[in-house]
Subunit: 349 residues, 3 copies
């Protein structure tokens, strides 16, 4: 059940929700809705979401009190007084976001100042209202912006700078001299600023010797980075992540990579050293990008692709090695049929 | 060397082991065995394991005192009084498990109650005998079941519920409102309940805006999750992991995924949002599953496959894009020959 | 800006740098250089690095005070008194390493002894000069070598042994009975010694039962392991990592694997159980190696390859399933042309 800022549960009538999302109501307007849930697990008080015919068929037997549905979907309409309701909208996906924003839980409040168990170097500068949680380590010369929260056991290295209104979850490490912009969210166990993977042959011919990494990582404003992701520092200069870019979990960004603004990388993507990724690039899960390549702005890369050549601006590529999508599909007729069928049609979950 | 519960080493005669695993003994029955080791690194007192002809050929020169071997394997039998012994059994793999269970180290005992450096909210409910280790953070309204151990620096969010007899290793995070069943093992740096990767276009056309994730993660009883794995919370409702399911390290499960009971996912598997995985599904390492797909119960997926279509119950699929195994092999004759040879044959390490 | 051991910035004249790297100087020898940066972001005082014609074309408009360049690269030479300089060397890559070593930041000094918030069992043996940072947990019977640093929140299990002059970054876990050699670097959130992924069918036919893992992990001297990587303990005997081997971030090594000396594994590589990797093997990012296979010494494996057969010594393999490189290229003529062009030519970033 969702909670208001004072801890009491959120509760709205169907009629109020209908106003919020500009919906036509079929059924009762005065049903009380306390939270959202999926059709086959929902109970009384739940609002659900019907995004396909498959879900529409589950509606009659679901215990959900109400559901969002896009106008035109064939579905049984509940009668007035049935204790159930459909909220029929122009775009159920958009209405879903509006409802989620209404039901969003209040973030855990964190007290300003440093917890007694945190270790904060006296030369670090902590902004007004910032919260340094239990077990954190903030080293010499570091700066933490106003209102920023370090949840628990976070490690901020020497001379690192964290912007305002950021949230760094448990065990995040932002190492020496790295920079994080305003309003960033770093999820648990994110590691920023590890030395890159760079070695030179040992002069005695026995293995390799570590190359010093004198650069840093610079992350723009509004970036979100998924749990257990890693971004390495550059040999010199900066590994760069542009403003508004979002990474899912377990992403790897090597030394000297430049990622543009407003990119979206799904989970387990790996980008090798010195690659350049343009603004607005979207990558599916588990994509790999080889060293030094350039992916043009607004390009899209399908899941698990292996990028071994530069990708021009705006193109969609896929495969291993990756090629333009039309070429990939030529060799995967079964996949092409599947995509055609999906685009034709509505039955996708 | 293995230890008994009181800290003294386990030590068994070959004769005692033979009774345990129902073995015929070739050689001396009174040799003392203190631990297991591999043939080429074993010393006196070690029991080893011969699972193929390759290992059988190492036996004469190994320093291991004894070895488990399946009846019928061609191998030199040690003489009575030679100071060495073979334990000849119907199934060496099964006998190995029985011996490992006998030699298993006693888990580190952890004191009941909260370590003085742990931060436990007064509204949290801590079950009898539960151990809250150094540096842990347990937030308001959380519940920790009887006998559960939080090893070190574990973070339990607000209103999260952890079952009985669980072990949460160092740095595990189970965030707000997530639920973990009885008898689960979460290895180090596992993160449960991070916001899913969901955004909507910014109304001003500048990048994207985060969609609130009001749901949670629910994990059934007896689940084991490998180190550095991540399971994201649902937008609404729950990301579900069925009872008895086991994940290896570095696995990613996105928002709204439903994983059935008794599944086995090898390391680095990634499952995209809202996919449904049936009971008993087995996936090799590095498999990727695209958004919204369904993998039928008891299906098997080969390592590194990219699942882009629904997989029917009980089938074995492989490839990128994945197809039924027979179809994959048709295009990989060299691989088919290899598999045929292995199935024919015994020489696998 | 780089710092000397006493905290003051490193500053060198171009003439001094020219002596260091044995360079011919075009332009002014007395320009002061304080750090390195990339051409398009460099300012006054920066030394940059020109590794291709593409960079050479950026030089005239860059604000960098100086740059390293290999003899023979076509480039505009600055005039004496221009306030700019080129350092022309036989091998700019080698000179870069020499300069980086000169500008390398001094590692953060860590005080010897245990921080008051660390929990160190009285039976643990801590070497002279070792530093046990805030929030660390060192359990009974563990050994920490001379001069080794546990940065923050590190967990060392019972009877684990860490060599001399190691650095274990924040949140690293080295669990019971595991061994780490001298001079190793384990980056943040590395987990050594988790139980391997091994189960047997439940006798009641309901899912699977965990197989005890009585072995450990042994890591040789001079190994570096990237952030969020995992190495599992063996069922019996040891999972082995040879001296001088380097892993990038998010690597997975399963139970019972043996990795040789001086191997290099790029990020997100996964090696399944009981595989044997010879000395000097190099693997690209996201490679997967199936169970029990052998990769011969000095072999190379291209990024994202799926190894499903043994790889002979010294060969280069690629693909899914992986095959010898010449065979892979036969099926990817576009890729072959790309590689030929790169080998012919200089235009690589």
């Amino acid at each position: 059940m969702s909670k208001k800022a004072d801890g009491s549960p959120v509760s709205l009538r169907v009629g109020e929700l209908a106003e919020l999302v500009n919906a036509e109501v079929a059924g009762s307007r005065d049903i009380e809705i306390t939270h959202m849930d999926v059709l086959d697990r929902a109970g009384v008080g739940a609002l659900s979401f019907i995004r396909s015919k498959r879900f529409a068929r589950q509606w009659p037997t679901s215990k959900a009190s109400a559901a969002l549905v896009t106008r035109g979907m064939p579905i049984d309409r509940p009668a007035e007084g049935s204790g159930r309701a459909l909220l029929i909208v122009a775009d159920a996906d958009l209405a879903l976001v509006q409802v989620l924003e209404r039901f969003a839980p209040t973030p855990t409040p964190r007290p300003a100042g440093a917890h007694p168990s945190a270790v904060v170097d006296p030369t670090a500068v902590i902004g007004a209202g910032a919260s340094i949680g239990p077990g954190c380590l903030v080293e010499a010369g570091a700066t933490i912006g106003e209102g920023t929260v370090l949840v628990h056991n976070v490690h901020i290295g020497r001379n690192a700078r964290i912007g305002r209104a950021c949230t760094l979850h448990s065990n995040v490490c932002v190492l020496d001299a790295c920079v994080v912009g305003d309003g960033c969210i770093l999820h648990s166990c994110v590691v920023i600023g590890t030395d890159g993977f760079g070695y030179r042959p040992d002069p005695q011919g026995r293995g390799v010797v570590k190359i010093p990494h004198t650069g840093n990582v610079e992350i723009g404003a509004g970036v979100e980075i998924g749990a257990n992701s890693c971004i390495d520092r550059a040999k010199f200069g900066s590994t760069l992540i542009g403003a508004g870019t979002k990474f899912d979990n377990l992403v790897h960004i090597a030394h000297g990579v430049r990622v543009g603004r407003a990119c979206l990388f799904a989970a387990q993507v790996g980008v090798a050293g010195s690659a350049t990724i343009g603004d607005g690039v979207q990558m599916g899960g588990q994509v790999g990008v080889a060293e030094g390549l350039t992916i043009g702005k607004m390009a899209r890369v399908g899941g698990q692709s292996g990028i071994m050549r530069d990708v021009p601006d705006g193109e969609t590529w896929m495969g291993y090695p990756a090629v333009p999508m039309w070429e990939f599909l030529r060799h995967s007729p079964a996949l092409k049929r599947l995509i055609d069928r999906r685009e034709a049609g509505g039955e996708k979950a």
